[in-house]
């Protein structure tokens, strides 16, 4: 049992990262009932945007000082690609059959991956991402906080707080809630719902960039394929938490992150299941968790039943 606090902490950091990405799925779904399956690639683009800024800056600039600019660069790249995807790929298909935007998203994912692969310098294999130097912080004798996890553990609550206040208190946030609940009636109020949809994509893009930087710091590298599994995990988190609910997305991310960490730590100790534990199986356990939750609560942890939607 002595691994429990460490497992929770590692899981929390991983889960916060999933949660930041899951916000992008859930915001867009909540407003246009569209699953943006290219969102994983929006994350990847954010990572390369941040890396580009780091490479532009002189080596003498310490990582902590470069980080805000890297976040800005990553966010500009992610937001630009996410809003362009909305405008030119998804908006024309808004009244098309549901399969059309889905296929478009898959095409877009492949295109974005290939663009980075072909045109970003040396991106045919992984590119190194800066990491903080130094040992992990020793919180107590047996609990260590990785320096690079500190970033996501600070950034995720801040982002959530800002988003929660924005949605609940601002005029645009109110308009977002109205659009999510009843888009036609929102238009009758004078709300430009097209603009609201763009804002949802933009917020998702900005959060994706923060997640990409967190992932780069954790792994010490990024690559053109990184969006695939991250996107899949975060989508799982969004569904787990109740798609359409921003707090559900973060909660789903954290639950998923902890479950993954716990499966890596514990399952190998269960008699007869040794070979089902360890890192290679954690993705499987993530999806087992999803299936179990959806069997018990089809609407997800914090989701409303479909009947509650206007």
């Amino acid at each position: 049992m002595h691994e429990l606090p460490q497992t929770l902490l590692s899981g929390l950091a991983l889960g916060a990262l999933y949660g930041l990405i899951a916000i992008g799925y859930t915001m867009v779904y909540g407003i246009v009932q569209l699953i943006n399956f290219a969102h994983g690639e929006i994350v990847m683009i954010g990572g390369f945007g941040a890396l580009t800024v780091r490479l532009w800056l002189p080596d003498s600039v310490p990582l902590a000082a470069a980080l805000p600019l890297m976040l800005l660069g990553g966010a500009i790249a992610s937001v630009a690609v996410a809003t362009a995807a909305e405008r030119f790929a998804y908006r024309p298909l808004r009244d098309a059959p549901r399969l059309a935007p889905l296929i478009t998203a898959i095409g877009l994912s492949i295109a974005l991956q290939q663009i980075i692969w072909a045109f970003y310098p040396d991106a045919k294999k992984s590119r190194g991402f800066p990491q903080f130097q130094g040992d992990a912080f020793e919180l107590t004798g047996s609990i260590h906080l990785q320096r690079d996890d500190l970033f996501v553990l600070a950034a995720a609550p801040l982002c959530m707080l800002a988003l929660g206040l924005f949605v609940a208190k601002s005029r645009t946030g109110r308009a977002m809630q109205a659009t999510a609940q009843d888009p036609d009636t929102a238009r009758l109020m004078g709300i430009n719902t097209d603009r609201i949809i763009v804002i949802a994509f933009a917020i998702g893009g900005a959060f994706a960039a923060v997640a990409a930087v967190a992932q780069g710091l954790r792994a010490g590298q990024i690559n053109f394929e990184m969006g695939f599994i991250l996107g899949l995990k975060a989508f799982t988190a969004a569904v787990l938490g109740g798609i359409g609910n921003i707090y559900g997305a973060m909660l789903g991310g954290v639950v998923l992150g902890i479950a993954e960490a716990a499966s890596t730590t514990y399952i190998q100790h269960i008699p007869g299941m040794q070979q089902l534990g360890g890192g290679g199986w954690k993705d499987v356990w993530a999806f087992v968790l999803l299936i179990v939750v959806l069997l018990v609560r089809p609407q997800g942890l914090l989701g409303e039943r479909v009947a509650d939607r206007a």
Partner: protein, 238 residues
């Protein structure tokens, strides 16, 4: 003197199916005009086109002197055309106050908005008592009051009401109709779509009868109320 609303030869289709087949009518400032007709006649389609939610295939709509055909919905409400939609469509997970505030979304005069919210609570005291509750917890009649109050929050030059008495108890229906009469007395211009033809025609200055996408009969409220074919078809007499 041109009318506040002028609709000329309006046609609206859903794909290949034409729901409104060339209708023309006007609403003068200060008037209550009603559209009556059986289910599927095209009344809701007409209102949704006037407020910009649907785009007509042909025809023109002039509001307050401006052509508004093809203008997006969120600009039309700014011109002073408010629409309380069929089925009420309040925002169920926002509070009553927040619903009313959304009705004033394009207004900037904070004190005026606060004043109008209080006026809505005077008009419908039950809304004031429940101000902080999610609108989805209201009864059907209360939701209708909220939808009307919300539409009034934009201080419209023309208020369009689509079936405000639909699905309500007789007492609630009376209450809603009385409120419309009050609004009329205070000078509000109203385009009223109603299934309750008796109540609508008693209240209206003028009315139009719609059948499968066309206006088949027009007249003053009193004339239509006494018209034999109207009495047969819509007032349940034989």
């Amino acid at each position: 003197m041109t009318a506040l609303l002028e609709v000329d030869n309006l046609r609206v289709a859903y794909g290949k199916i034409e729901a409104v087949k060339g209708i023309s009518f006007t609403v003068e400032a200060g008037e209550v005009v009603t559209l009556i007709g059986t289910n599927g006649a095209g009344k809701t389609t007409t209102l949704r086109t006037l407020s910009g939610l649907l785009t007509p295939t042909t025809g023109t709509i002039r509001f307050n002197g401006h052509p508004i055909t093809g203008t997006p919905a969120h600009h039309i409400v700014a011109l002073g055309l408010a629409h309380s939609p069929e089925g009420r469509h309040i925002f169920p997970r926002l509070t009553i106050t927040e619903n009313l505030q959304l009705g004033a979304f394009l207004r900037k005069d904070t004190t005026g908005i606060t004043h109008d919210i209080h006026r809505a609570y005077e008009l419908f005291p039950i809304l004031g008592e429940r101000a902080k509750q999610p609108a989805g917890t209201l009864s059907g009649g209360e939701q209708q009051m909220l939808a009307m109050g919300r539409a009034l929050m934009s201080r419209p030059k023309l208020l369009m009401l689509d079936e405000p008495s639909m699905g309500l108890s007789p007492i609630m229906m009376r209450k809603i109709m009385d409120t419309i009469a009050e609004l009329k007395a205070s000078g509000t211009t109203i385009l009223l779509v109603e299934q309750n033809a008796q109540a609508a025609l008693s209240l209206a200055d003028r009315g139009h009868v719609m059948e499968i996408g066309k206006i088949v009969l027009s007249g003053t409220g009193t004339d239509l109320l006494h018209d034999e074919s109207v009495r047969k078809a819509y007032l349940g007499e034989d």
